[in-house]
């Protein structure tokens, strides 16, 4: 075969090739582009929060909270493929730690945020050591039980947690107290924390750890045969994930200013996190964010407009959407977008 016949045609106009080059550059550096875009987007969201009515500000902050939680879950649930059903536990530990430190001991929530993250990470590590030995449904059930134990502890250690009645955080607005009358400062803090979660997730996905986790997810035996220390990589993923979820909990507590066991440790919180990640596309960095962007506003709108007359409608959406996604798009909305784009570009290149 003559190799020269395989050369690309040179008759193409320069303009088209330049545009194509710019296009491929955009695709090649899409991560950089997205990261550069993230700050102006965050600025815009903060501006919207500051200027629009209360509901939209709340919508933005609460979407960020759940996007960050689902992103944190994704590190262990998606990258490592370990279906944790107890992530509300870490969220709750973060929320209760910073709140107890602030309410009972007057320690600034900024410090509480870090203490809460460390404790949640430590807890994830301690829970991970025994539970990561379990596989498949056993792991899911064990994490479910851990979440239930933490919920029960929050209910029962009344002197520390206030029991079922919950904890109210005093409303003394200042930056030092991480308490504000307006919503936009929360949008800044939560937005930055969401970017941190996405950043950590991105770094893990694109480094050695991410590849090792993917190997463990696809076939743990094979990964170990190839020299991946599966117990160690799962523990690292679990700890980082718990740490981040704890941070979200501390910020959420300062935003809502009231927490009780059911609202932060409840099994519904854990399930909601999973639903968001799976609908968006678990195992990819942006999947959980996409899931949260679609589902959280949808359910908040339904809650606002129909919450009084038709209770349950806003959660019904979660249930139905997740069923549809699992059946028709098992790789989530992200997978759907990707396969559509691939089909379109494949079609164009064929012409």
């Amino acid at each position: 075969m003559n190799p020269t016949t395989r050369e690309a045609p040179v008759t193409e106009p320069d303009k088209v090739s330049a545009a194509r080059a710019a296009g491929t550059a955009l695709v090649r550096h899409r991560h950089l582009v997205l990261w550069l875009l993230s700050l102006p987007v965050l600025g815009l969201l903060v501006a919207i929060t500051a200027t629009s009515e209360l509901f939209y500000g709340h919508l933005i902050v609460i979407t960020m909270v759940f996007a960050a939680l689902a992103t944190a879950w994704n590190i262990v649930g998606g990258f490592a493929g370990q279906l944790s059903l107890g992530h509300a536990g870490f969220f709750g530990v973060g929320a209760y730690t910073s709140s107890i430190l602030y309410v009972d001991h007057g320690i600034s929530p900024w410090i509480g945020l870090f203490v809460g993250m460390v404790l949640a990470g430590l807890m994830a590590l301690l829970i991970g050591i025994p539970t990561f030995r379990l596989h498949g449904p056993y792991f899911a059930l064990a994490t479910l039980a851990m979440g239930a134990i933490l919920l029960n502890m929050a209910v029962n250690f009344r002197e520390l947690t206030g029991g079922e009645g919950g904890l109210s955080i005093p409303f003394e607005p200042s930056w030092a107290n991480m308490t504000f009358a307006d919503r936009w400062p929360y949008a800044i803090i939560m937005g930055i924390f969401l970017l941190i979660c996405l950043g950590v997730s991105f770094v893990i996905a694109n480094t050695r750890l991410g590849y090792q986790l993917a190997a463990v997810r696809e076939d743990e035996e094979a990964a170990r045969a190839l020299g991946v220390n599966s117990a160690r990589v799962k523990l690292i993923a679990g700890t980082v994930s718990g740490l981040l979820a704890g941070g979200v909990g501390a910020i959420y507590a300062q935003y809502i200013l009231f927490i009780n066991p059911e609202s932060v440790f409840g099994i519904n919180v854990s399930i909601q996190i999973i639903v968001l990640a799976v609908v968006g596309g678990s195992g990819v960095v942006l999947g959980p964010l996409i899931g949260a962007l679609i589902l959280v506003p949808a359910s908040q709108f339904l809650l606002r407009d129909f919450g009084g007359d038709l209770p349950g409608l806003h959660t019904l959406v979660y249930g139905i959407v997740v069923i549809v996604v699992v059946l028709f798009a098992p790789r989530g909305v992200h997978g759907l977008i990707r396969s559509t784009v691939e089909r379109l570009t494949a079609h164009r290149s064929r012409r």
Partner: protein, 288 residues
């Protein structure tokens, strides 16, 4: 209340846990699917029993066979419409699907039936309670236990003595080999799911005269069901029965000796220990 009294009432309620758990364990053993909707299916059965009583004056123990058959059909629909498409998928996919069903059922119950606690109003059944050697036994609890024993016995007979049971057990052991031996594996899955959900129906109807029903009643009961399943050994119906009785007693005794609010935490701690120390459970076996 004496400790004996507590143990007896724990045993009786343990029978219902066993019934719920045997539905989960059967589906898990045969199809390798963890059904997270089982608690909500139990909730639906409780509401069905309640509404049959409120609307048509049907006595709960008359409603029981109706609800059981109805839930068998629900199980067939659930499998044919949803689960069967994820059998080849991973555990996560199936768990998330059944979670979606659970969320939907819970939301629908809240939407159409409201969030109030509702109890079934009926004449005291056989005088309300029996006195046996100084112990008072609630007749509805005793009835629930007898129903659980009969249903479990029937299920074991079905699995052990019938051709269908043989096919189910063969599929549980090795679905590929079963397929090669000419067993219609897909149909076995369908029937298994029907039986599994029917057991939630029986448990729900038996429970309705004892417990209040509300949209999230299934969450706690499902957790208890999982504890029982793991304790009994995944896939073992006899194990689930034994596990149900043990968990019923552990819950009752710990809430008597310590406090009701701690008893749940104790049961789950017990659960974690079993998972870590003896994950195969008490009885090991491929369904039976």
């Amino acid at each position: 209340m004496t400790l004996v009294q507590v143990v007896v009432s724990g045993l009786l309620i343990g029978g219902v846990y066993a019934l719920l758990a045997s539905g989960i364990t059967l589906v898990l053993g045969v199809m390798k699917v963890v059904n997270f909707a089982q608690g909500e299916l139990l909730m639906v059965s409780m509401y069905a029993t309640l509404l049959l009583n409120d609307g048509f004056g049907v006595h709960p123990y008359v409603a029981l066979p109706l609800v059981t058959v109805g839930m068998f059909l629900v199980g067939l629909v659930l499998h044919g419409g949803l689960l069967r498409w994820t059998i080849s998928g991973g555990h996560s996919q199936q768990i998330v699907l059944t979670l979606g069903v659970a969320i939907s059922l819970q939301s629908l119950a809240l939407l159409f039936l409201g969030g109030d606690y509702r109890t079934l109003q009926m004449e005291p059944f056989l005088g309300g309670s029996l006195q046996v050697g100084g112990i008072s036994i609630g007749t509805t609890r005793l009835a629930a236990f007898v129903i659980a024993v009969v249903a479990t016995g029937a299920l074991l007979l079905l699995l052990d003595r019938t051709l269908l049971g043989k096919a189910i057990r063969a599929t549980a052991m090795d679905s590929n080999a079963a397929q090669l031996m000419g067993i219609p594996v897909q149909r076995v899955y369908l029937v298994t799911m029907g039986i599994g959900v029917a057991l939630a129906g029986t448990a729900g109807a038996a429970l309705m005269p004892i417990f209040s029903v509300y949209p999230t009643v299934g969450v706690h009961l499902l957790l208890m069901g999982f504890v029982v399943v793991v304790l009994g050994g995944l896939g073992s119906v006899a194990g689930a029965f034994l596990g149900g009785l043990i968990i019923g007693v552990v819950e009752a005794v710990s809430s008597y000796l310590i406090s009701a609010s701690w008893s749940q935490a104790i049961v789950f701690a017990f659960f974690m220990i079993i998972l870590l120390v003896r994950p195969q459970g008490l009885l090991r076996g491929d369904v039976a």
